[in-house]
């Protein structure tokens, strides 16, 4: 979806630029503030010159147009899309463009995040400079070279001071701090942290703490590759002060994305090294990580010749996720439920907590079933779920449609030979079934699994996959044998498995039928009944191995490869970092310690292959690529507005206040409909909810279905990955249902009393199941006695008996299995009927048989006796 949206945004941005006329980059901040979500676009002429006989001659001049899809209301780890055209084609392409490993390239485009704005009129602490630009290694900030190799000392535009032997920081740090060699030329670009600390950045030890080796977040700064036609694309991950405190970008501190198309150092003389134009042809790769021409490498991004060519894109950040906790001291009203909503809730919550006439909204992610149960027994005012759940309590529950979103199979897959990321992944239900049922053996260990010897080792070796997705490598990897999924119960897993179950080929495969290439399902999963809400880990095969580590840690191998996690967010970040959750790495701290198993390493860029089930919201926020799922025999559809809309058009209303029916059997008939579409509802009681809570829930339903459906990056707006509900078109029934349910929740039919402020309700909570009485441990307050023991689980009408104002309440709900929950509603219940047919009929029947038998036998005796006597 993000890619489609990006295109649209770029078009809008382009039009705006055209209408506004040529717009200098310096005017960026003000303009961007006006256009809330239009992103950023500008064109700049970049040049490389050389001073010949005192006259600056232009060697190369290019008009570089840069556009960014989103520059405002950014969140931590969000990926923004940068597109440029007209740059110098790159050569010697590196497999991994991030951080230090991107340095061995020629003519790339350097992307950096820097604190402050590029505006000379601002005070120094708000202004961006080289010293506020983040890099994750010292190699990108400090260069040492012999005098002949120090190309920066020939920079035409540098000051005299910068061309000195020891330059960049004054006074130059002593040799012990920087382990500097006195006779080398050294240039240091120190880093100035948000709190004012200046890090010399000349050794690993003098870098900011976030740049430590093995830091929790991989490098985000990159040297991106420009194609032969001068255009290029990159997804740049922005960091807030939560991820990177030293960089310190947040809502109050604007930052800048600096785009530096490397043109080469402009030399003040004819120095051979400085005037170099590169040794790699355009479009070539640098697999061996060979040395490059320094003059055109990104290593000297800070040199004035390069720095003056920069294009600065101002970035504005959204409220931090804890803004509500900081800015609003009211107690939050916590809704529980679907993690599909987390990106929307992130943007929605400030629009509630920052207004005094609204309540403090909070969404706590939790499995749909658990959240619904919490709401049902009165411990939460509302739950967010995406399917109907069974009501155990006495009070009816209504569902207000809140968002149309869904799940995506996100992926990070690189094409071989350094050809960039693969972007057209297509998956069938059967491929998903193969991945989920652990039918790929993953490695020689898994290949020992009985019954799976003929299966391809991983997804990319499967002929079915290769037919759909051409041009990928055939290297088997453990991470390619699985799709990272959820371990806990979720409506997402339910929908995903329903999609599999409704496909004839996929369900036949799970049932045990081999595909046409002879691949069979993992015998542990053969005949698994689908759909399921919680994916079971059924395999029990522990492979035999001669390796010491495997001997010390015998484990179910395929379950370790699958290693599902609890949260969709974890999966999204794993795909973002291309860090599979496969737990098969053998490690030990020292050779004398025992081996232990752990998570394998991050995948190297250039050979990534990882899949994960994510929410559409997360996928859009992090700019993850999403797979197109099979919707008909030859048709694949990815998640975007059109395909979600096509799917929602099939949602049929059921009863009033109940969830819409959106079934895979119906979706399968529409090849334009995205199979992963899900509707998220806010479920709440329409009776028995406390007045204060009912008002809040109704307010949420109303606001979220109106202003919460305006798409945009701002507070209270709907983020990417969600289809807006509108009062018209295919989403009209959903919109109207939300309004109706909001009214019903606000009205609260038959609500008798609100939550008791005293202890009696709470103490009733520990009433024994079946309710026979206030047990002593519950603080001496008795609740409904023996009666409750036999309360049926069906709703009951209010009793004719008046309910006392004070005093304890009679819990009105008793679950079938005896789970007895505190009910905040006083309500009398009728005595249930405990009947027993056995008790009624047994003894009379016995009597009857005994009598009848006696009469019969005496009659027989009498007749036989008479016959014999005759």
């Amino acid at each position: 979806m993000s890619r489609a949206r990006t295109g649209a945004l770029l078009a809008v941005a382009g039009l705006l630029v055209a209408s506004a006329g040529p717009m200098g980059w310096a005017a960026g901040p003000a303009v961007a503030a006006e256009r809330q979500d239009a992103g950023f676009s500008t064109t700049k002429t970049v040049t490389r010159t050389q001073l010949v006989a005192g006259v600056s001659q232009v060697l190369d001049s290019r008009d570089v147009a840069v556009s960014v899809d989103k520059t405002v209301e950014l969140w931590g780890r969000e990926r923004i899309h940068v597109h440029w055209a007209g740059a110098h084609p790159s050569g010697g392409r590196a497999a991994n463009p991030f951080g230090e490993s991107g340095m061995a390239q020629e003519y790339p485009v350097v992307l950096l995040q820097c604190r402050g704005l590029d505006d000379a009129s601002l005070p120094a602490e708000q202004e961006m400079s080289r010293e506020t630009c983040w890099t994750s290694t010292r190699q990108q900030r400090t260069q040492s070279a012999t005098e002949s190799a120090a190309v920066w000392r020939h920079d035409e535009y540098a000051t005299e001071a910068d061309r000195a032997q020891k330059a960049g920081v004054s006074p130059h740090p002593d040799a012990t701090t920087c382990q500097d060699v006195p006779f080398l030329s050294t240039h240091i670009t120190p880093f100035r942290a948000a709190d004012g600390t200046v890090f010399p950045a000349c050794t690993t030890e003098t870098m900011p703490p976030e740049a430590a080796v093995g830091a929790s977040y991989p490098p985000s700064e990159m040297a991106a590759f420009t194609d032969v036609d001068g255009s290029g694309d990159a997804s740049f991950e922005v960091r807030t002060d939560i991820e990177n405190e030293s960089l310190g970008c947040n809502q109050a501190t604007d930052c800048t994305l600096v785009v530096i198309p490397i043109m080469g150092i402009s030399c003040l003389d004819a120095d051979a090294l400085c005037t170099g134009t590169g040794r790699f042809p355009p479009g070539s790769s640098n697999f061996a990580n060979e040395g490059v021409d320094d003059a055109v490498s990104p290593l000297y991004w800070w040199a004035e010749s390069n720095w003056r060519n920069r294009i600065s894109v101002p970035l504005k950040f959204g409220l931090s996720p804890d803004a509500c906790d900081v800015l609003d001291d009211r107690a939050p009203t916590a809704f529980f439920g679907s993690e599909l909503m987390s990106q929307a809730a992130l943007q929605w919550s400030p629009s509630y907590c920052l207004r005094k006439d609204r309540f403090k909204f909070q969404l706590n992610r939790m499995s749909d079933m658990a959240a619904f149960a919490l709401m049902d027994n009165g411990q939460a005012p509302a739950a967010m779920v995406s399917s109907a759940h069974k009501v155990e309590g006495a009070d009816p529950v209504a569902y207000a449609p809140t968002a149309v979103t869904g799940f995506a199979v996100s992926y990070a897959i690189d094409r071989p030979d350094n050809a960039g990321e693969y972007g057209q992944l297509r998956l069938t239900p059967r491929l998903l079934a193969k991945l989920l049922t652990q039918s790929y053996p993953a490695s020689s260990l898994g290949a020992q699994h009985p019954g799976m010897s003929k299966n391809p080792l991983s997804l990319n070796l499967d002929p079915e996959f290769q037919q759909l997705n051409t041009g990928l490598d055939t290297i088997s990897r453990e991470a390619a044998a699985t799709v990272l999924s959820l371990s806990q119960s979720s409506d997402v897993v339910e929908t995903l498995t329903e999609y599999i179950a409704h496909d004839a080929k996929a369900s036949a495969f799970v049932a045990g039928k081999p595909d046409q290439w002879g691949m069979v399902v993992n015998p542990s999963y053969r005949g698994t009944t689908l759909p399921v809400a919680e994916w079971p880990l059924k395999d029990t095969f522990v492979p035999a191995s001669e390796l010491e580590c495997q001997k010390q840690n015998p484990a179910v191998y395929l379950s370790q490869v699958a290693a599902p996690v609890s949260y969709l967010r974890t999966i999204a970040e794993a795909v973002l970092d291309a860090w599979p959750n496969v737990q098969t790495r053998c490690d030990r701290p020292t050779p004398s310690d025992p081996f232990k198993l752990g998570r394998i390493d991050r995948q190297g860029i250039g050979s990534r292959f990882m899949l994960g089930v994510t929410s559409l919201g997360d996928a859009a926020r992090f700019g993850l690529r999403t797979a197109a799922l099979q919707s008909s025999a030859s048709h694949f559809v990815g998640p975007d507005d059109a395909s979600l809309l096509a799917a929602v058009a099939h949602a049929e209303p059921t009863a009033a206040g109940q969830p819409f029916r959106l079934e895979q059997s119906v979706l399968a008939k529409d090849r334009a409909a995205y199979p992963g579409t899900m509707i998220v509802y806010t479920a709440a009681h329409t009776s028995g909810l406390a007045k204060a809570d009912a008002t809040k829930v109704a307010q949420f339903m109303r606001v979220s279905s109106t202003e919460g459906q305006d798409r945009g990056p701002g507070n209270g707006q709907l983020p990417e990955g969600f289809l807006p509900l509108r009062d018209g078109g295919a989403t009209k029934p959903l919109y109207e249902a939300a309004r109706r349910v909001a009214t019903a929740v606000a009205a609260q039919v038959k609500a008798r009393a609100t939550g008791n402020s005293g202890g009696s309700v709470a103490s009733g909570g520990s009433v024994p199941s079946g309710g026979s009485g206030g047990s002593a441990s519950s603080g001496g307050t008795a609740t409904s006695g023996g009666v409750a023991a036999q309360i049926p689980a069906t709703p009951v009408a209010a009793s004719p008996e008046p309910v006392a104002d004070a005093g304890p309440v009679v819990p009105a709900r008793a679950a079938q299995d005896g789970a007895f929950e505190p009910a905040p509603v006083a309500m009398t219940v009728p005595t249930p009927a405990d009947v027993s047919r056995t008790g009624e009929l047994l003894l009379p029947l016995l009597l009857l048989i005994a009598l009848a038998g006696g009469i019969l036998t005496s009659g027989l005796r009498l007749t036989t006796g008479r016959r014999r006597s005759r």
Partner: protein, 307 residues
């Protein structure tokens, strides 16, 4: 399994005759023997039914009477020694309270646990409720018709009648509120006091004396101050201990009991070949009767506990 039951009833047949083993001791065939297989089956069936009726209605009362006496003696001793249980987890079957119905002239010892088997010895107290007199609502179940019928006629209690409970904590006088049947509103739980709800079964119609169709509740509210209820009661009881519950766990034991009956009958038949009929009858009848009695007691655990 019922097919193995002929044994206990055979000895009770008038003028018992040797079974199919003709000619060894009694060569002369009697006319009564000529009823044929159908007649035999009917006889046996009606005898089994009669035995069940007699056991549950008559013999059961004897055993209940004895169990009450035993429990009374034990509870009396414990009350005197102040060791009667007042809370926590009490072993099922232990006597916990003495209930007196002045208006009915009845005194009953209440044991702990409301499974069908515990109710054979008299009224029983449900384990997840406080004891009578303690804060909260306590439930006491009693059989309506079988095994001494301790709670028969309890629906005749009128509002205002007293029920006196004596437990390890003292004497508590309850005043009957009403007799409550299905559909009647459940009264509010007492905030600080205590209620005793007696549960038994009843039926309507001509055979209501031996039929128990539905549970009936008699609520009685404590007059006076409730005792403090010690912590540690169970939080739930299995279905077998709820009203009209039965206890399928008795099935394996029943198999063993019936197997014993069958074995004794077979032994008697073999012995009949060697020894005189009088001797065999004299020895076998008490043994078979005892085995049948205990097997029937187990079988009753499969029936509703309020019957």
């Amino acid at each position: 399994m019922t097919m193995t039951r002929p044994a206990p009833v055979q000895p009770r047949m008038p003028a018992p005759r040797p079974p199919v083993t003709h000619g060894v001791a009694t060569p002369d065939p009697e006319p009564a023997r000529r009823l044929g297989p159908v007649g035999d089956a009917v006889t046996v069936l009606s005898m089994i039914c009669l035995w069940l009726l007699v056991q549950t209605l008559v013999l059961g009362a004897v055993s209940e009477n004895r169990a009450q006496n035993e429990a009374y003696t034990q509870l009396r001793g414990e009350l005197a020694a102040a060791t009667a249980p007042i809370g926590g987890v009490i072993t099922p079957g232990e006597p916990v309270a003495l209930l007196r119905f002045p208006s009915l002239g009845r005194e009953l010892v209440v044991v702990e646990g409301t499974a069908s088997g515990d109710l054979l010895g008299g009224p029983a107290h449900r384990r997840d409720t406080p004891l009578p007199g303690q804060q909260g609502v306590s439930l006491v179940y009693g059989r309506a018709h079988t095994y001494g019928a301790p709670f028969a006629g309890l629906t005749g209690l009128r509002p205002g009648d007293h029920v006196v409970a004596r437990t390890g904590q003292g004497r508590a006088v309850f005043v009957v509120d009403r007799v409550r049947r299905a559909g009647d509103p459940v009264p509010q739980a007492p905030s600080n006091g205590a209620r005793l709800t007696l549960v038994t079964a009843e039926s309507t119609g001509p055979l209501s004396a031996i039929s128990a169709a539905s549970a009936v509740y008699i609520d009685a509210t404590l007059a006076g101050t409730a005792f403090v209820a010690p912590a540690g009661r169970l939080s739930a009881v299995p279905d077998s201990e709820r009203a009209m519950g039965n206890d399928p766990a008795a099935l394996p034991l029943l198999v063993v009991g019936l197997g014993l009956v069958l074995l004794l009958v077979l032994v008697a038949l073999v012995a009949r070949q060697r020894w005189s009929a009088t001797l065999v009858w004299l020895v076998a009848v008490p043994l078979v009767l005892a085995a049948a009695w205990s097997a029937t007691d187990v079988a009753v655990r499969l029936l509703p506990n309020l019957l």
